[in-house]
């Protein structure tokens, strides 16, 4: 049978399935979609929060390139930089990494890290090559924020550094600035964090940060002083020059020390206030915390009495003059000078100490006993005056006047003034003497005296005549003396005889002898 004979129509058609399975090639777009989707998801899920940072200038910052780093780890990147609407600065938007939300709080600080020389330290040298980056000091507590104000200078102390901040008050900032080192026994243990004027304008508030573990060396009785520059002091032992360190010579410094034997006090708490003394000597001098103020009224000139002049008791300083004014008393029509003095009662032992009531009683008793204030010359060359307190038992009675705001302390005039016044008094009395009467009576007296003298002259002449060399009295006297001489000789002979022959006194002179 040939194929041509085969009847095709008699054979049933095979069913051809048109349904085909999808080709395996579709796995490729599937894998591409999966990988692409995964990458997209990962990229998106790693996007952190978008934040805004204000800076004064965008120096060194580049959109899309400048990184935000913490401990040299990238935590974000600046995306855009634009000017503020009022042209006062720039606003950077930055994309932080995921998880950054936790430390974007209101206390978090941002600053631009550039190469800078400040506070005796060179920092950010690496940015000379790599370009500036933005530093961050993360804080975990506080309100969550998305907008931050960037600092122009890096903070001296970041929140992760262990240590404590203390507040110092000073009348002058001296050469203290942010970054000025703090020394303890000439070792650098901290820095000045801020230095600003108090709102009252009366003193400067300096915040210092002392690193751990040195912060435990700050006790409640620790004293801080300004160790800037060179301190030259001259005393009986010679000249002493003191420099805290070469660094402090250039950029200033603050040093602190705790008085020996008193460091049993607990360590000072964070933010404790301290006084910043002008130099180290001042810390040793001004150890008295209580100051009581008294008003002294002087009626005399106070030329040479400066504010700050010492108040002494028998040569020991117990306080200083705080203010000198001039007052007119309308009632008496007199001028008087109120001098305000600050006394440190702790300098005087057993004077009631810290108890004000006890001090008051003690002071009243002392005034009764004659305690008075007077001006004394401190320096004869310059005419500087000081206020001297001393016991003047003979002075007119006076009392303390407990008036507000300051108690009045009785005064007596100066010794010099006292002499002047007594001389004046004497002169006045002299002036009151009846010189004319005295003169006339003196005249009369002189006349009488002259007569008396003539009388005496005459008497003397008579006396001369009576006892003169040719007078009978004289020759008689000579005769008498000769006879007396003979008599004496006879007595001498008799005495010799008696000595040789004592019995001759009874038996008479022996002839054979």
């Amino acid at each position: 049978m040939t194929p041509e004979d085969f009847d095709r129509s008699s054979v049933t058609e095979a069913v051809v399935s048109t349904r085909t399975r999808p080709s395996i090639v579709w796995l490729i777009p599937l894998v591409a979609a999966l990988v692409g989707g995964f990458v997209a998801w990962r990229t998106y899920s790693q996007l952190g929060p978008l934040i805004e940072l204000d800076f004064e200038s965008a120096e060194g910052l580049e959109a899309g390139k400048t990184e935000i780093k913490y401990k040299d780890v990238d935590v974000g990147v600046v995306e855009t930089i634009r000017l503020k609407a009022d042209l006062s600065g720039v606003v950077c938007t930055a994309r932080m990494v995921k998880g950054a939300e936790d430390y974007l709080r209101d206390g978090t600080r941002f600053w631009v890290v550039r190469a800078r020389v400040a506070g005796g330290q060179v920092s950010g040298l690496g940015t000379l090559f790599s370009g500036a980056y933005i530093g961050v000091d993360p804080v975990r507590e506080g309100k969550r924020m998305r907008q931050f104000h960037g600092l122009e200078v890096p903070p001296i102390v970041t929140s992760d550094q262990p240590g404590r901040t203390f507040v110092l008050h000073s009348h002058r900032a001296g050469s203290i600035d942010v970054g000025t080192p703090v020394f303890f026994r000439k070792i650098r243990v901290g820095e000045v964090v801020s230095s600003e004027l108090d709102p009252s304008d009366e003193f400067v508030t300096v915040q210092v940060f002392v690193h751990a573990p040195h912060d435990l060396r700050v006790h409640r009785d620790t004293r801080f002083w300004n160790a800037s520059g060179v301190h030259v002091s001259m005393n009986s032992q010679g000249v002493e020059v003191n420099v805290e360190s070469a660094v402090s010579l250039l950029i200033g410094g603050i040093a602190f020390e705790t008085p020996i034997g008193e460091s049993s006090e607990p360590a000072a708490e964070e933010g404790s206030p301290f006084e910043l003394y002008a130099n180290r000597d001042a810390t040793e001098r001004e150890v008295y915390t209580i100051k009581s103020y008294y008003q002294l009224y002087f009626d005399q000139s106070v030329r040479g009495l400066n504010i700050g002049a010492p108040v002494e008791f028998r040569g020991i300083q117990i306080g200083e003059v705080r203010d000198v004014k001039l007052e007119f008393d309308a009632k008496t029509g007199q001028f008087r000078v109120p001098v305000l003095v600050g006394i440190e009662p702790e300098r005087i032992g057993n004077l009631g100490g810290a108890d004000p009531a006890a001090r008051r009683t003690a002071l009243e008793r002392l005034v009764q006993l004659g305690l008075r204030a007077q001006l004394a010359s401190g320096n004869l060359l310059t005419g500087q005056l000081l206020v001297e307190l001393d016991m003047h038992p003979g002075s007119p009675p006076a009392q303390m006047v407990w008036s507000e705001p300051y108690a009045q302390f009785p005064t007596i005039p100066t010794s010099l003034e006292e002499i002047t016044s007594s001389v004046t008094r004497l002169a006045k009395q002299l002036g009151n003497l009846p010189f004319e009467q005295i003169a006339s009576s003196v005249d009369e007296t002189l006349k009488t005296a002259r007569a008396a003298l003539a009388q005496a002259d005459r008497t003397m002449a008579a006396a001369t005549a009576l006892v003169g060399p040719d007078s009978p009295a004289n020759s008689e006297l000579r005769q008498t003396l000769l006879e007396l001489s003979d008599a004496a000789r006879s007595i001498g002979l008799a005495a010799d005889q008696i000595q040789r022959q004592p019995n001759s006194l009874i038996f008479g002179k022996e002839a054979n002898q």
């Binding site: 080709s23 090639v25 490729i28 777009p29 591409a32 990988v35 899309g64």
Partner: protein, 210 residues
């Protein structure tokens, strides 16, 4: 293969071997083999449209991350900088090297888009049985095939830089995920062009009535 145009090999139940070019007669639907070299014989590439579509879609999917992700990262003196293709072009342009920018833009952005567009338009036109200008469409296909191998310029640059610039802290170049996706786009478009059978363009127009 219902409407085979007369005068073609397909109409005569013949097929040319892709490998050695021997013309053989086909019998039925069975998997035919070339009697000379043993390669599989088929009148048209099997499932050409489906495979091409798959590759084109995969290329499109890879094209997005290839352009959005950084292609390489240059770290010089401690400062790292990641660049995408577009930011690299922008960098070249802002630094006055516009001829180079033009080359990179053409090779890396324009050509892949062109290839994908041509392939998609060919696929759509074949599926819609369009007989519109088959000669031009074939020329477009040839262009796609020809430029495919030149699209790897970026990948070459990145690989050479990564190998050459190893100066430690001074300068380092790293390849980034974008390069992988870009390479994938190039490979996938080449595969798509390969799997497309240009004879399909002519099948339709000749079936219409020459």
């Amino acid at each position: 293969m219902t409407g085979a145009a007369p005068g073609t090999a397909l109409a005569a139940s013949c097929a040319v071997c892709h490998d050695c070019g021997l013309l053989s007669r086909l019998r039925g639907h069975a998997a035919a083999r070339c009697s000379r070299c043993g390669a599989g014989l088929h009148a048209r590439k099997p499932r050409s449209l489906e495979r091409t579509w798959a590759f084109v879609i995969a290329a499109c999917l890879c094209y997005l991350p290839a352009n959005l992700l950084p292609i390489m990262r240059v770290t010089s003196l401690g400062r790292g900088e990641a660049d995408t293709i577009l930011s690299g072009v922008e960098y070249l342009l802002t630094h006055g090297m516009w001829p180079l920018a033009l080359v990179v833009f053409t090779a890396s952005i324009f050509v892949p888009i062109l290839k994908i567009t041509i392939l998609v338009s060919l696929l759509v036109s074949v599926q819609r049985r369009s007989s519109w200008r088959p000669r031009e469409r074939t020329r477009m296909y040839r262009l796609t095939e020809a430029i495919g191998r030149w699209s790897m310029v970026d990948i070459f640059v990145v690989t050479i830089l990564v190998a050459l610039v190893r100066l430690g802290n001074l300068a380092t170049v790293e390849a980034m995920p974008g390069a992988v996706f870009f390479g994938a786009v190039v490979v996938l478009t080449m595969l798509a062009a390969e799997s497309f059978d240009p004879r399909l363009i002519w099948d339709r127009s000749e079936a219409r009535g020459i």
